[in-house]
């Protein structure tokens, strides 16, 4: 006890690789240059508006709706991606079947494809006269030009984030753990729900956060399928662009600042949950 109290807490763990100071310096300068300066410029510009103008612009009904649609659809799409992304990762990790390599490569396509291309393709499919849209229209279901269409586009762009974060952790799961559960009497459902999924929680949360963040910022694929009706299917990034085209820079920065704050807060919360669950599940120790 005395030894540990005498020893002062320090940042630096002794290591064979020197250069802590240099590495941290480079990291911080880079972060400042690439992220912090542009973002503070944004905040600074919006602060020039004065609080009342800013508040009026940020709480404008059209802005509020756009923000709600952006965050709501991104959240829904991230949830969908968590469910199917985990299943997809499971299939890729656990089974061997012909064409597996191709499917594995296909998962990354949304990373590489210009999102506008995806947007146009999805719109063609889901428009009332498209392949899928024409089947759904008689049932009274409308997908393109509604928030559901936005969710579909965001599911498309967000899928690889979940699959690629969960996959490596799944590969590490020892088959013996499942066998151990079975010898203790657990049926398949219990093994999955009580043994396998809880162990994946930190990775699933990371995948969710990435897919969600991507969904909030997505522009290219959404504007084609959304229809962009103000108050109904207009996303916040599009509203920013509209304001910019009107040369209404203060309004654009106000919306941007609000998005920035909400996104940062949500990511911070997700990261904290993640750190907590990692510690709890014994990854960090």
């Amino acid at each position: 006890m005395t030894a540990s109290t005498r020893k002062r807490w320090q940042f630096r763990q002794p290591s064979v690789i020197p250069g802590f100071g240099l590495a941290l310096g480079v990291t911080l300068s880079w972060l400042i240059l690439i992220i912090l300066i542009p973002l503070s410029g944004l905040l600074w510009r919006s602060s020039a508006l004065g609080w009342e103008t800013f508040w009026a612009m940020a709480t404008d009904q059209r802005t509020l709706n756009a923000l709600r649609i952006s965050f709501g659809t991104a959240f829904a799409a991230a949830l969908v991606n968590v469910v199917f992304g985990v299943i997809l990762a499971w299939v890729l990790v656990r089974y061997r079947f012909p064409g597996k390599r191709i499917i594995d490569a296909m998962v990354d396509l949304p990373f590489a494809l210009p999102t506008a291309v995806a947007g146009i393709a999805l719109t063609t499919l889901y428009a009332p006269n498209g392949w899928i849209g024409s089947l759904l229209t008689p049932l009274g279901i409308k997908i393109a030009f509604t928030p559901i269409g936005i969710v579909i586009a965001l599911v498309f762009v967000g899928l690889p984030f979940v699959v690629r974060t969960v996959q490596p952790i799944m590969e590490e799961i020892d088959k013996e753990v499942e066998e151990a559960a079975a010898t203790l009497g657990a049926n398949r459902f219990q093994t999955i729900s009580r043994v396998l999924l809880p162990g994946l929680t930190p990775a699933v949360l990371t995948g969710f956060a990435l897919a969600f963040a991507r969904g909030v910022g997505e522009y290219g694929s959404v504007i084609f399928i959304a229809g962009n009706l103000p108050y109904v299917s207009e996303i916040a990034p599009l509203l920013i662009v509209i304001r910019l085209e009107e040369f209404n820079y203060p309004a654009a920065t106000a919306i941007a600042a609000v998005m920035l704050v909400i996104s940062f807060a949500m990511l911070l919360v997700i990261n904290m949950i993640q750190a907590w669950s990692r510690r709890r599940y014994g990854y960090g120790t």
């Binding site: 020892d174 657990a186 162990g199 120790t285």
Partner: protein, 345 residues
């Protein structure tokens, strides 16, 4: 509960992992499956557990045919080499898992589950650590959690797959003694797999020596060591020397010299002579002996191991001498095996 394995065959693809294996395990026995890797010992254990299905043959738990039952229905306790603990659960939750997931009709109340788990934590000497996660425990502690978890479900039979294989020597020795104590106290029928003969001989009531998918010998540690029934068992258990000899008129001969060992009743012809390095007597003069030149000598704990060159056709043998007996290089030593066995190919 007694376990009977009857004419079990198991093939992986075209590769026969087990070939017509039968074994009776008595209730309350601690039995070791011993063999080199690839001998089928782990496969046999996993078949008893129900983690593999036999290609052919039957496994009985008591009088009941268990072969068609699933792992879950067999109610066994299985301990894996690498612990296979649930890393997101505390020690307490790991141990209670098997009871907690039972259907409501067979599930004890939650206070009973907790009491039972705490009793087991006490039994495996982990009191005070019940709130820890597996990542916060040492290897030996993890394996004790794994054993407690397996015992929590009151298994018909306890199966351990190389339970100490991943631990360092000191911990392994300690856990070995401790497992024996636990077994004597709880009396579970226990089968454990090991490739460490010292572990098997020290710990088990009976040892099953396996090789290439077959059982070579089943017996008490003494029987296995003192009266091996096959060249494999003789060579695999403990140290041994092998010499090519000839039986003629009740005597053993190496080439044209009698080695002074009488083999009355053995038919004439070539044979392999097996003997252990310590089962020898030294001779002063050689009127019927094995003689050789010392090529190496090293002291291992309480004995001196001496390597002898006994001629071009036979190669080298190793004998064990008392440490005070010095054996200088190139000196000549004559000896005769006092306890030996002949095998013919």
């Amino acid at each position: 509960m007694e376990v009977r394995v009857q004419n079990i065959h198991k093939e992986f693809g075209r590769f026969p992992a087990l070939d017509d294996v039968s074994l009776d395990i008595r209730s309350g026995e601690l039995i070791a499956l011993l063999g080199p890797s690839g001998s089928g010992k782990t496969t046999l254990l996993r078949l008893v557990a129900g983690l593999e299905t036999p290609t052919d043959g039957t496994i009985y738990f008591g009088d009941e045919d268990a072969s068609r039952k699933t792992v879950q229905q067999r109610n066994i306790g299985f301990v894996f080499q690498h612990y296979a603990l649930f890393r997101h659960m505390t020690v307490l939750d790991n141990i209670s898992f098997g009871l907690k997931i039972r259907p409501a009709s067979r599930r004890p109340t939650s206070t009973d589950i907790k009491r039972r788990a705490m009793e087991l934590i006490d039994l495996v000497q982990l009191s005070g650590l019940e709130k820890r996660y597996p990542a916060q425990l040492s290897g030996g502690q993890r394996q004790r959690v794994a054993l407690a978890r397996a015992m929590a479900v009151e298994p018909n039979v306890l199966l351990l797959d190389e339970p100490f294989g991943a631990l360092d020597a000191q911990v392994r020795k300690e856990l070995r003694r401790w497992l024996r104590e636990i077994h004597d106290r709880t009396g579970h029928t226990t089968i454990f797999v090991t490739h460490d003969q010292e572990e098997a001989l020290e710990l088990a009531d009976r040892v099953v020596v396996m090789s290439k998918g077959k059982i070579e010998q089943v017996g008490t540690p003494d029987e296995i060591y003192d009266t091996p029934v096959s060249p494999f068992v003789f060579g695999f258990i403990g140290q041994s020397n092998i010499l090519s000899v000839r039986v003629e008129s009740g005597q053993l001969w190496i080439e044209d010299r009698s080695i002074g060992v009488s083999a009355a009743g053995e038919p004439d012809g070539p044979a392999q002579l097996y003997f252990r390095p310590h089962d020898i007597e030294l001779l002063e003069d050689c009127g019927g002996c094995i003689a050789g030149i010392v090529t190496a000598s090293r002291r291992v704990a309480g004995t001196r191991h001496v390597e002898l060159d006994i001629g071009a056709t036979q190669g080298k043998v190793e004998i064990e001498l008392p440490p005070e007996k010095t054996a200088t290089d190139r000196s000549r030593i004559a000896f005769r095996p006092t306890r030996w066995k002949l095998f013919r190919s």
